[in-house]
């Protein structure tokens, strides 16, 4: 592969992302897990939690919103393409499997970023103060890539039944929310919980969001950023490698 081909393949990946956004953003599973779920969770969260400060709460909400929106589209695309039998055509086109997988990830990432920015903007209008804007925006972008890779990984099993994948997603996503310092600061977690928190990329994003809003976080900020980047790279590579393996089984 030379540079020209890489550029051309990247363009085609973005075309695939555009197609995904057009098709999937209003599909019921996406609306439920990407819009309704974070709204309900935020409301429950806002009403229930009186013990922590408002900026802490807002940081948690932001983190949850990004997590749910960025993982909304990526798990449903492959099962859907298998079901509507559009995947075969895609594979017979001159696009590398990597381009197809990255295109789907890009779509999910953009969806996550866009909705989270809207939420952030609304928050800003009603008086939420952000101390570190640039850091926060960068973290939203990286975090969105990272979470959309998680979504992609959830759809690796080659089933055409998107309900199964949705079920699997729910089973993975909710526990992650609980161990990532959103409802409860990491420092207040029991020992085992703290260990698990280290294994969740959501923990680091939440900590960055907290730092951006309050000026203090649990981990050193550089550690947060590096860990988030590391997870993003590992999860993205893993989802590309694994999807490449299971893609032919969907035909």
């Amino acid at each position: 592969m030379n540079i020209r081909m890489v550029r051309e393949q990247t363009r085609r990946a973005f075309s695939i992302a555009k197609k995904d956004l057009r098709i999937y953003y209003y599909k019921p599973p996406v609306l439920i897990s990407g819009i309704l779920m974070p709204i309900f969770l935020c409301m429950a969260f806002l009403m229930g939690n009186k013990s922590v400060s408002l900026p802490f709460l807002i940081a948690g909400l932001l983190s949850m919103t990004l997590f749910f929106t960025a993982t909304a589209i990526s798990p449903v695309i492959f099962p859907w393409e298998g079901q509507t039998r559009t995947l075969e055509r895609l594979i017979s086109c001159p696009v590398a499997p990597e381009s197809i997988i990255m295109g789907d990830m890009i779509a999910s990432t953009i969806f996550g970023i866009a909705i989270t920015l809207v939420a952030l903007f609304i928050g800003h209008l009603i008086g939420v103060i952000v101390i570190h804007w640039i850091l926060l925006i960068c973290a939203i972008i990286i975090g969105s890539i990272c979470f959309s890779a998680i979504g992609m990984l959830l759809s690796v099993p080659p089933t055409a039944v998107s309900q199964n994948i949705m079920l699997l997603s729910t089973l993975v996503k909710f526990p992650l929310i609980f161990v990532s310092g959103i409802f409860m600061p990491v420092e207040q977690m029991p020992g085992a919980g703290q260990v698990i928190a280290y294994l969740s990329p959501l923990t680091y994003f939440t900590d960055i969001a907290r730092f951006s809003l309050t000026g203090t976080g649990y981990f050193p900020i550089y550690f947060d950023v590096w860990m988030l980047l590391l997870f993003t790279i590992i999860l993205s590579v893993a989802s590309i490698v694994l999807h490449k393996k299971t893609m032919p089984l969907r035909i």
Partner: protein, 308 residues
């Protein structure tokens, strides 16, 4: 000059089932090649390997000189595909589907728009350009899918049963489109169940049975190989008992079809002479006598074991 398609010892297994068993053949540039076989013979599996959708377990496929194994992107850029199962994106409009294909084949946006417009017009879909494909009839979908395969003006096109399930006029439209493209030099590879289609359209056909390529030649030559056994249809002005035909020289088998007799003969000439002699001897007259040329159907049934 490389062949349009060259298939070298390609094998595909699904578990213990050998769906395609080490087949080799090539399709020359400018040819219409028909790929025939009964259900489950391995036509679709072969087509999928030729179009890079499935990886062969062994062997290689070369498309206009590019190996599907080592340079799949270059190979795929060269052809268009109409897969077996209809699959335009149902949630996109006809226009969006075509433009998306244009982008995947690397057409510039102006060029893609131009081609999309042109294809919508010649495939009679212009009024439906802005409608979602899920509202399309089967014929409209199939025309759109063919249009999608042609977006980048490929010099080779694969079609897996492009006319199955279509009414006569839609099927004719697609076939005449294929013939017209072929006259401009486009190579066509199509699988079909329809012998008529293969007979009138294809320059050469390959017949596959249980994963093995069992014949490959022009339809006329294939029919010729069956010519050793002739079919004769005869009817007399009155009913005759079977015994009369039994020991007639030259006639090997006979059976009654309505008011006609269907006979098969090793030696056509001898059989006809003895029929004439019989009618003279019995004082009957022959009302009709036809010698039937074998059809591609006969070839197909004979080769694929549908008729002993």
């Amino acid at each position: 000059m490389p062949d349009a398609i060259s298939v070298i010892n390609v094998t595909k297994r699904f578990g213990s089932l050998t769906a395609v068993n080490s087949i080799s053949f090539s399709v020359k540039k400018g040819e219409i090649f028909g790929f025939l076989g009964p259900n489950g013979a391995g036509k679709t599996t072969t087509t999928r390997m030729l179009t890079g959708v499935l990886k062969p377990d062994f062997g290689d496929v070369q498309i206009l000189g590019h190996s599907m194994v080592s340079a799949p992107l270059l190979a795929k850029q060269k052809f268009g595909v109409v897969p077996e199962t209809s699959n335009a994106y149902p949630d996109l409009t006809a226009w969006q589907n075509l433009m998306f294909m244009g982008e995947l084949y690397g057409l510039g946006s102006e060029h893609a728009k131009e081609r999309t417009l042109y294809l919508l017009q010649i495939f009679d879909l212009y009024e439906h350009a802005q409608k979602k494909v899920q509202s399309f009839s089967k014929g409209m979908k199939q025309r759109l899918i063919l249009a999608m395969a042609l977006i980048h003006e490929p010099e080779l096109i694969f079609l897996d049963e492009p006319t199955s399930g279509l009414d006569v006029s839609s099927a004719r439209m697609i076939l005449s489109m294929l013939r017209e493209m072929n006259s401009r030099g486009v190579t066509i590879f199509l699988t079909t169940h329809n012998m008529d289609e293969a007979n009138t359209l294809c320059h050469r056909v390959g017949i596959i049975r249980s994963g093995n390529l069992i014949a490959i030649d022009s339809p006329e030559k294939l029919k010729d190989t069956l010519d050793k056994i002739h079919q004769i249809e005869v009817s007399f002005n009155r009913d005759i008992p079977e015994e009369m035909l039994r020991n007639l020289p030259g006639i090997t088998t006979f059976s009654r079809f309505g008011d006609k007799w269907k006979l098969s003969a090793q030696d056509k000439d001898l059989a006809i002479r003895s029929l004439v002699a019989l009618s003279e001897h019995e004082g009957m007259s022959i009302i009709s006598l036809n010698t039937l040329a074998p059809t591609l159907d006969d070839v197909f049934l004979r080769l694929t074991g549908g008729e002993k």
